[in-house]
Amino acid sequence: MKTKQLCILALFSAIALSIWAAEGLIPPIVPLPGIRLGLANIVLLLTLYLYGRRETGLVLAVRLVLGAALAGTLMSFLYSLSGALLAFLVMCLLKPRVRATRVWTLSAYAAVAHNLGQLLTARFVLGTPGIWWYLPALLLSGILTGLFTGFCARFALPLLRRILGGSRP
């Protein structure tokens, strides 16, 4: 890994962590557990399309571990871990099939996967099947928030490509 790339990935991790922490301060718009805008995901999408899967995994890992260490509890780490891993898996699967200009499609799928992962974890942690009631709401919010973050990434990508032009691997 070149020094410049290392610097930029570190910068991206820091940005993702700050966005994630700042978002946690905003009171929830919809009072249902698990519904979140997921703005930090914009950084992951950018990393995925600017660099690749391995680099995205690194940024995600740094964000998860530092996020849990700074602001989380063991429970919240468990939820964010399961959601993030499933979303990352979906991102890696769909990346070769989705062009950069359609990144919002991928983002919506990743957000849905994230919410599904969290709901699955919640199902086993809480031990009550009744929480499947939240599934449609989580699917809907996953698609809408995923589309939003996806559009943000889609418009930021060309700008970043221009700025970081020389650093592509």
């Binding site: 099939r97 031990g127 449609p136």
Partner: protein, 130 residues
């Protein structure tokens, strides 16, 4: 490879968007159905760590009262509805969920692993939940 995974049409991106639209539509319809078809609640079941701690018959409640669940949560019970009055977690999502009165709609406190599930009036507690 791509076509085998998403066989809806020749172009994988198009199929992906089609599938996404389908999920969106399905989810939106389900949300509306869940919100407007629940019916009134008859019983409330309080679970902690997956174990049933209390079953409340909401039709026989005459005056509202509060119920402590473990150390962290306080539930307020009224005739036909419940809400989480207090929780000691930082996110307060279960408190913001406010009153729940329709069958099926749970109140969940993720940090304290507490669930309150409402079920229908006539059927037994197993009648509503799948």
């Amino acid at each position: 490879m791509a076509k085998e995974v998403f066989p809806l049409s020749g172009k994988p991106e198009f199929s992906l968007r089609l599938l996404l639209g389908g999920i969106l539509l399905l989810a939106a319809v389900s949300v509306l159905l869940l919100l407007y078809s629940g019916g009134g609640a008859g019983t409330a079941e309080v679970y902690r760590d997956g174990e049933l701690v209390q079953r409340i018959d909401l039709r026989n409640v005459t005056a509202s009262y509060t119920l402590e669940i473990g150390e962290g949560n306080v539930l307020e019970v009224e005739r036909g509805r419940v809400r989480m009055l207090r929780a000691d977690c930082p996110d307060q999502i279960c408190v913001h969920e406010s009153w729940s009165s329709s069958a099926g709609k749970p109140i969940v406190c993720l940090p304290n692993r507490v669930t309150v599930i409402l079920s229908g009036g006539k059927a037994g507690p197993d009648g509503v939940l799948g």
